[in-house]
């Protein structure tokens, strides 16, 4: 089993002097390909900061990030972020964030075409992906014509469009009811297995906690791996 993600001693501080806030305090973690992990923690614990840093949206102050064997950040030395992100990282958010003027098929297709997949191939692969997620009948629908759950499934299909080595999800079930939330989590797990991608999910939704292979909990910028959740953490 290969390693999808390795983070070593990631540090991030916002602000300066007395008003500075330590968002990440020497955070280290490792995630295997085909594995799905949950990142839990109270608000302000640093979950979103970690996610944006791992997603190469913002750089850490120090530390090292290796994705699929490629060192993308090593104490200030960065690779071509956008190009790397395009090929290796997929994102799913609380809101589906689909482009409202493209139908489901084109939302998925666009992600492929941006990654230089030819139009015809992108179209057929996108249709195939949507079929896998049970949206074959609705691929020509605009996002506003789809339910929240369907939109989220399109977003997952888009995130997987370029076979990423890492898929980051930020509270993907927050806007869904519990049944749909669980279904989405299971889809993410299935996707991690099928596409051999490491999936890291920031979530508050403990109802589907059994879906995850690993669980990390963050508090005050520090991370800790848990095998079982305590009652306080569950709350």
């Amino acid at each position: 089993m290969s390693i999808a993600l390795t983070a070593e001693n990631l540090c991030k501080t916002y602000g300066r002097g007395n008003t500075s806030v330590l968002a990440l305090d020497k955070v280290s973690l490792s995630l295997n390909s085909g594995e799905i992990a949950a990142l839990l923690g109270p608000s302000g614990a640093g979950k979103s900061t970690l996610l944006t840093i791992l997603g190469l949206i913002q750089p850490p102050d120090s530390g090292k990030i290796i994705i699929g064997g490629d060192t993308v950040f090593d104490n200030g030395n960065r690779t071509d972020i956008r190009s790397f992100r395009r090929k290796n990282i997929g994102f799913v958010f609380q809101k589906a964030n689909l482009l409202p003027f493209l139908n489901a098929l084109d939302n998925v297709r666009l992600a492929m075409e941006i990654n230089d997949v030819s139009g015809r191939e992108a179209r057929s692969r996108a249709a195939e992906l949507l079929e896998q997620f049970g949206l074959g009948e609705r691929k020509e629908f605009l996002p506003k014509e789809l339910s929240g759950g369907q939109q989220q499934r399109v977003a997952i299909a888009r995130a997987l469009a370029n076979h990423p080595r890492l898929l980051l999800a930020d509270e993907p079930t927050a806007a869904l009811d519990s049944a749909m939330g669980r279904k989405v989590m299971e889809l993410l797990k299935e996707a991690s297995r099928k596409h051999d991608a490491g999936v890291l999910v920031v979530t508050h939704d403990h109802r589907a906690i059994d879906v995850f292979d690993r669980i990390w909990v963050m508090e005050d910028g520090r991370i800790e791996e848990k095998n079982e959740l305590t009652t306080r953490q569950e709350k």
């Binding site: 944006t52 913002q58 956008r82 992100r85 958010f93 964030n97 409202p100 003027f101 493209l102 666009l110």
Partner: protein, 401 residues
């Protein structure tokens, strides 16, 4: 690659249509301004160009009838005709009148014709046939065929309608025979004649008291005797055509030796017209046009910037999924260009119906239209810069916000 600009337009078609329509109205005004300017030049030089004269003879030390009042005696025509190398010398009479006609104000420029006026663009009716009491009126005067109009002491009947014959001031032109034009211009009320005749007798009596000759008194009081204190028949200019085989410069040189007139070539008259009468309007229109182009640029910039702001979340998402900058810039630029080009097309399309209803002539020339099209493209690119800068500064992380 999916064309994001077109897809976005299709999705927000109503907004796109309204935006384009708004900009097209602005461009229609800009286009119309250019057309008014061209129309002004065309109207200003219409008579000079159509007269076919090589040389204009006008009142001494004046710039001619288009720049100021020019009056020369009627007989000047015969003096000039006698100059060697002159093929023809025609009197030129033009003057403006304002009359109330069936409850509306009628402003006309009366032009004396040395011929029937068959060379004029007559769209209805016919040219002049009689030497008196017939007139050709431009369609802008809205005087239908057969209309009778009293000018001076006589009534004139409209026998022909011309197209697009307006004076440099924009008034509708009417054409009558030279003699009729002179009669209208020199119409002196009978009371004025009687008054002058009486005062002449009084003056005569004062200077020749006691030796008054009855014969002289009779002559002075005679209705056939022209009162010298009242103006005689005067014309505005004499139009000269140079005979074939003669050097126009040579004829011009000869005419310039006449001590009581000023002589210009047609090109000089044209230049006088354009540098004097038209120049100020031209500058005003140019300034107005510049302001309108600036306003269009600002409006387009604001619109495109607002459209970009509306899409910032989508742009951030595009960046997050790894879209190259050219994809995002292309989307903004294509929309800007499409709005600009379509607005230009709409303005051009509807302009052809709107402009003919303008009181002054609007002339759209291809050169001006191409120039405006170039400006619209430049405006579109310029206007999209603010949106592009904003888009480039958008962070992919804004998707999370």
């Amino acid at each position: 690659m999916i064309n994001l600009a077109f897809r976005d337009i299709r999705y927000n078609f109503g907004r796109f249509l309204l935006t384009t329509a708004g900009i097209s109205l602005l461009l229609m005004v800009v286009m119309g301004m250019g057309g008014i300017y061209r129309g002004l030049i065309q109207e200003a030089t219409l008579i000079i160009d159509r007269s076919g004269a090589d040389i204009w003879v006008v009142q001494r030390n004046t710039k001619g009838p288009f720049a100021e009042i020019s009056k020369i005696p009627r007989n000047m025509e015969y003096r000039i005709a006698a100059v060697r190398g002159v093929k023809s010398a025609s009197p030129f009479i033009t003057h403006a009148v304002q009359r109330d006609h069936h409850g509306r104000v009628l402003r006309l420029t009366i032009q004396g014709l040395p011929d029937s006026g068959a060379w004029l663009p007559i769209i209805r009716g016919r040219a002049l046939r009689q030497g008196h009491y017939e007139m050709l009126a431009d369609k802008s005067a809205k005087l239908p065929l057969g209309t009778k109009l009293k000018l001076g002491k006589d009534t004139y009947r409209v026998v022909g309608i011309t197209d697009r014959m307006n004076s440099p001031a924009g008034d509708s032109m009417v054409f009558v025979s030279l003699n009729d034009a002179l009669s209208i211009q020199n119409d002196i009320p009978p009371e004025a004649v009687r008054e002058e005749r009486q005062s002449r007798l009084s003056r005569f009596d004062r200077v020749a008291y006691g030796s008054t000759s009855v014969d002289h008194r009779e002559i002075l009081a005679s209705p056939y005797e022209k009162p010298v204190a009242l103006p005689g028949q005067q014309i505005s200019a004499v139009l000269v055509k140079v005979a074939p085989g003669f050097d126009p410069a040579g004829v011009l040189k000869k005419l310039r030796t006449l001590p009581d007139v000023s002589v210009y070539t047609s090109d000089e008259q044209r230049a006088i017209m354009l540098s004097g009468f038209v120049a100020r309007s031209r500058r005003q229109l140019l300034l107005f046009r510049t302001i309108l182009v600036t306003v269009s640029t600002v409006v387009m910039t604001l619109i495109l910037y607002t459209l970009t702001l509306d899409k910032l979340h989508d742009i951030a998402m595009l960046k997050l999924i790894g879209a190259r900058n050219r994809v995002i810039v292309g989307m903004i630029l294509q929309q800007a260009l499409l709005i600009g080009v379509l607005a230009f097309g709409i303005a051009r399309f509807f302009g052809q119906w709107v402009y003919p209803h303008f009181p002054r002539r609007v002339v759209l020339v291809p050169l001006d239209l191409w120039a405006l099209f170039g400006i619209v493209i430049a405006i579109s690119i310029l206007a999209s810069i603010a949106g592009v800068v904003k888009a480039m500064r958008t962070n992919a992380g804004e998707v999370l916000s």
